[in-house]
Symmetry: C2
Subunit: 427 residues, 2 copies
């Protein structure tokens, strides 16, 4: 019986890959982005894989929890969830009271979700391999043959401050004109049909001018601006007057559900978030505050692929639309995002992805292809991609050598400008 | 590839089976209970099965929708849902605007859920057969090896008014003493550890006396009373004083969320429902009214097994407990209920089942076994039971001959008492 196959080994490997000097509300990307690669091996020698956050606290949580999988069937997702939750919430299970370290700004609940998500994705890869089915078929089947992603634009410098390696091919983007050039290059290379700008970096006037320039260059493309909660409520309301007719959605201009709820009274563009609704408690509160209308889901912190499907059903119930959030990631995450997005009928917005900003890969065959801005939903068994061992080793070596263990966009920015405050909202 | 197998034929067969003269708020069970048996056959000659309501409106809806499955993979659950929803809500899909008939008291949304549920259960049976996995493993895996059910007691007459066949073995139960005898017989035969009484039949004083008699006979068993919304708010509040210390939960004493919310202020026993939260709209409203704390789920009308799993996640988010509702049913439904209950961590209450009240079966091997009040979760592929063709034919013949096409407990009661009013709440 397939359900007598059990998990025999779990490997957690931190990696680092080159990342561009991308600007955001917190500061600027460091030259190396971190991820954890999860490999779950069965008694019949299959390996299921997943990719998640690489910060020290998540890495430690994964490593402390990895033995909880031993002996489980790859189909025992509910049992895995129960074990991880019991371990992460001491008192629920007295026999394995693991204390996980917490990343700044995160809390116990989210660490459990992150660990569960990574293990679930790897276990569902195994399920798919064992059954000869793509993961999306284990989530009710693809409702679209390919998943559209958006062009994710960033203000950026031409190169990192200490020039750890040769500058990327994207050049500088600190003006509306340069953002348009970046958009044109990204759209030409990937075929994206929707465009998102990460804002909250420069004076809102410049960012609004960038959106207007994008509208002029792309008269019909859906446009989104994400100031990353770096604008005050007053700034967000004032900006809405200029952005209302430009935006498909207005993503996290100002912090907190209360601010977003107040803003909603003063703008026509629907408000979206991946910041003020990031847990079920916040989801429930949003049902009362009615702050946001569109949720950017992310299976990496919402507890996995199945939890994201359930979240989508909740969005439908609570009259919310669904889009998808991303962090710097490689192809393993991109494939998992594609499977789950394919299986969610009401995920009707093009998903975010940082993928164009990465140059390296950890999977066999190298970088994945986009066609007209979309990723084709895999029809091969499981996740549809495999690790290239030499690449995993190379990127792990980079992790060991880069010296970064926790993402620190603020600290990196202070290398450029020691007086950089990091207050939020800044504008 | 397994996902290239497609659905070639769908058969919907109405059946009728003997049912006892069980009393409830609406009246009394007729001598024949109706169900629809769904058989979904693939291009590789497998047959997946499901059981659902047998009323004329549901039967018609199933038959009008059955061709929507043709050509689909048994894994294409999301596509099936989309097709059924589009057909049932004219305007969403212009090319197949089916108008479904509606049963009294139901509405369009619930008919879609009923049809989707029946098709999904049969398709998941097929998936499990094709993959060699039990259905619960396709829902994240069993979190318990067996599913506990409760003894579901009914006030009843000794035999049907027109004696269409020999009386059942249970005898009359119209007094507290007779209810205790019924409970003792049912617990002795099935091993149930929890006990539920269907109330709303006689004067509340007699029903409260029945609960007290049950407590005396079963000092530690969790007890539940379900007056089926047949008590006024005042009656429910007054009764709560006597029931608070007896009940595990107080199920639907009074109609409507507003009444239940007011009652909740006056009783300590948690309120449960399968009447005032039966749709996502009502679920959402309950998050505001806080009327009930425990939801009796039922995959037959909540949109299927996956929807019930998602509903369970929503219950966890909204601090609600979960139990399970039943109607008169046979073993195909019992197995589906067992698979989904096994895969829901927070379904912590023993489930309702009418199974002890049925004598006939449609599955091979005859009636299913309970051990210490529980049904063992199947570990064989798919649903774990198959149709016995001769039994299906026999029960279909009974359907054709019994003359009942819609359940009518009120009409049946008026055969005993032409003056029976049917007003609700009656007490």
């Amino acid at each position: 019986m397939k359900n007598q196959v059990t998990i025999k080994q779990v490997r957690i490997t931190p990696i680092a890959f080159r990342d561009g000097p991308l600007l955001n509300a917190a500061g600027i990307h460091e030259p190396w982005a971190l991820r954890s690669i999860v490999e779950v091996e069965t008694s019949d020698q299959r390996v299921g894989i997943a990719e998640t956050y690489g910060d020290a606290s998540v890495l430690r949580a994964l490593r402390e929890a990895q033995d909880l999988l031993l002996g489980l069937s790859p189909f025992a997702l509910n049992a895995m969830e129960a074990r991880v939750r019991a371990a992460i919430q001491p008192g629920v299970s007295a026999d394995r009271p693991i204390q996980f370290g917490l990343a700044t700004g995160s809390h116990v609940t989210k660490n459990a979700e992150k660990v569960i998500s990574a293990f679930e994705a790897a276990m569902m890869d195994l399920q798919g391999q064992m059954l000869g089915m793509p993961i999306c078929d284990l989530l009710g089947g693809a409702v679209r043959p390919e998943v559209p992603y958006s062009a994710y634009l960033f203000y950026k410098f031409a190169e990192h401050i200490d020039r750890p390696y040769a500058p990327d091919a994207w050049g500088e983007a600190v003006s509306p004109e340069q953002i348009v050039v970046q958009a044109q290059k990204m759209v030409a290379e990937y075929g994206f049909q929707s465009i998102k700008l990460k804002g909250g970096v420069f004076d809102p006037k410049l960012e609004i001018a960038s959106m207007k320039a994008l509208r002029k260059a792309f008269p019909t493309a859906p446009l989104r601006l994400d100031p990353n909660a770096n604008w005050s409520l007053a700034t967000s309301i004032a900006a809405a007057q200029e952005l209302d007719d430009l935006l498909e959605y207005y993503e996290d201009p100002t912090p907190g559900q209360e601010g977003m709820a107040e803003l909603a009274k003063h703008c026509r563009a629907p408000l979206a978030t991946n910041m003020c609704v990031t847990s079920m408690e916040e989801f429930k509160r949003n049902a009362t505050t009615h702050a946001v209308k569109i949720l950017l889901s992310d299976h990496h912190y919402w507890g996995g692929l199945r939890a994201t499907v359930a979240l989508a059903r909740m969005c439908a119930v609570f009259d919310m639309g669904m889009s998808m959030h991303s962090n710097s990631h490689l192809g393993i995450s991109l494939m998992a995002m594609t499977h789950v997005a394919a299986a969610i009928p009401n995920l009707t917005y093009a998903c975010d992805t940082h993928y164009p900003w990465q140059e390296e890969e950890v999977i066999k065959g190298g970088r994945l292809a986009f066609v007209e801005g979309s990723v084709k939903v895999p029809t091969t068994p499981g996740l549809g991609v495999e690790i290239a061992p030499s690449q995993l080793q190379k990127l792990h070596q980079q992790y060991l050598e880069c010296g970064i263990q926790n993402r620190d966009d603020l600290g990196q920015m202070r290398k450029y400008n020691p007086a950089f405050g990091g207050t939020n909202p800044r504008y």
